[in-house]
Subunit: 359 residues, 2 copies
């Protein structure tokens, strides 16, 4: 069985056939085929060029059938065989993969829990709202107080900034109870079940301990950065903590892998329920087309797209119109700029989202 | 205390100051500074633009002092704060970091063991030799037989192809004893202490179990791919198995981080004794300048540079002249093309390296 992977390759028409074959070999046996004397390896293991299409701008779309048997059951090996060595070659972008049922069954966990959270938040149909705890450098109590003020505005999710880790000035074990308590105080006031999403970092031992602490603190959500923690660690974590809603952060995701594939398909494949990504029109350069595809891909897995990265309250309507209601809109710094008016500004945000009439 | 990190940024002269400040903020507090009301965060946590130099080709070298306190003790967080979100921006390359003693002390393990291996192999001064077990898809016994034939040529190191993982057709637990036994048979014949370097994959649990199996099989070396396993996992593994020599493979290393930094500095920082990289003149596009810097950076940590990726016996002399003797030359596919003459071809390789007179 083979997984069709599409690479976009810069090449001339006369070179592309050889270049395509080169990628097929690099991503499978990685050696000259004339040195392989086992026929089964040549037929069953070596990548097969299935199609080459001229994209018309000096690039070609090359579809290669990669042998599923080379992937094993580890999500890290999936990355390795999809793009490991070829990631080092500047003329190639991994554009898309056609996820087979077999691969999905191997990796994805059986149920995602966003629907359940929607229900608890009485948000059956509207878009969801989120903000972020920043800046790092604040002591846990101050982060807890900030979490409370954001939650007073009735936000659905309040996540850690991805820079919050286990630093001396803010230990994970101190920070999580403080932020959870801050949000709990607000929830008693608002009645809205705002969820705190702590960012987990470190190796699998650390991730496990932090996820357990989050769970023991009564939290339902966690955030991980798969490109930093490693796909294998995230895969293990989401299986073990299958009752937690998993947010994936794109930190270190700047490879030559199309973002709509990496964030929109691969992150949900290994277990993300919500995928944070830098939306068009913010501080990052993703195009509208990339963002739309990314969001659609994520929803195809039952995962919520979370546009972020410099979103503003002033643009909320436009962003919602673009992404539709099956979206979680994350506004971080722009809300924090309200300073002493953070609860009020957060409430304006949540009301605007709830009242939005889609164009 | 601050870590100076240099980014190469595409920008116009009128934009670069704002762009540099944007990176300094993105890689620290990631929010508008006017929303930060704690003076200590502004002075001690926010990244500081220390220098901007025009590189003359539409790019600028921007040096930013990143607060060491934001890094904590996790190598994943090191990556996160160096380049996490900025990796998503196409106009920026992380070019270099000036590793402080503090950071080195935090991360690197106290002793690397290449010198000891050199001694055991009676290779005090000459370059070291290596080859790779391929193709994946072969059963463990066949890989073991191939390992034996390569080792009969007197190679110093025989590593797994990085595609060998824990696949159905070749389970790690079956493969490692077979390859180790094959090499042991050859060692009894040659008297040369050829070392087998198995590739470890999967999450930290898997990595630990595989490293333990390698150690229990009497092996001294292991290989990991930090960009797939994750920096945090590699950091934990090399600490726990500090007696093993660690090879780092660059799979999935194709980010906008200069290879001489990523492979030459960061891989050794987290514990690599030998760093495999795609040398100029092979299947990959690294320039001679990149390769030279990478090799020099690695040696600065006491790590051996291992040029690879399409090296050939015919080019051995030229490659050795370029890199010098403090190098491990890895020739994979080209040796395997000798097929039934693999032991003889491997011996020609090892003799050529031993006899090489540097230009």
């Amino acid at each position: 069985m083979r997984l069709p992977a599409t690479y976009h390759v810069r090449a001339t028409a006369s070179d592309i056939a050889a270049r395509a074959q080169g990628i097929a070999v690099e991503q499978s046996v990685e050696m000259p085929l004339d040195a392989i004397d086992e026929p089964r390896v040549l037929t069953e293991i070596v990548g097969a060029v299935e199609d080459i299409a001229d994209l018309g701008d000096g690039r070609f779309a090359v579809r290669i059938g990669l042998a599923l048997s080379t992937f094993g059951q580890d999500a890290g090996q999936l990355l390795n065989m999809l793009f490991g060595n070829t990631s080092l070659q500047e003329d190639v972008v991994l554009a898309d993969i056609d996820l087979t049922e077999a691969l999905i069954a191997l990796n994805v966990r059986p149920q995602h829990r966003i629907g359940e959270l929607r229900q608890r938040m009485a948000a059956r149909h509207r878009a969801l709202t989120a903000s972020a705890l920043k800046p790092q450098g604040l002591a846990p109590e101050r982060l807890g107080a900030l979490a409370e003020r954001l939650a007073l505005g009735g936000l659905d999710f309040i996540k850690d900034d991805h820079g919050l880790a286990d630093q001396d000035y803010s230990r994970f074990a101190d920070r999580i109870p403080q932020c959870a308590a801050g949000i709990a105080r607000a929830v008693r006031h608002t009645g809205h079940q705002t969820q705190y999403v702590p960012s987990l970092t470190g190796n699998l031992d650390h991730l496990r301990a932090q996820a357990a602490l989050a769970r023991d603190t009564g939290l339902n959500c966690i955030m991980v950065a798969p490109m930093i923690s490693g796909f294998p660690a995230v895969q293990a974590l989401v299986r073990e903590f299958h009752e937690m809603v998993v947010f994936a952060h794109p930190s270190m995701g700047g490879l030559r892998i199309a973002p709509d594939l990496l964030i929109g398909k691969l992150f949900p494949l290994i277990g993300a329920d919500a995928v944070i990504f830098p939306s068009y029109g913010g501080r990052f350069g993703y195009s509208q087309q990339t963002c739309r595809r990314l969001a659609e891909n994520a929803r195809g897995f039952g995962a919520l797209p979370v546009p972020a990265g410099g979103m503003t309250l002033a643009r909320a309507g436009e962003i919602l119109d673009f992404y539709g209601s099956d979206t979680m809109l994350l506004i971080g710094g722009n809300l924090l700029q309200a300073r002493e008016r953070i609860p009020e500004e957060a409430e304006i945000f949540t009301r605007a989202v709830a009242a939005h009439v889609y164009a």
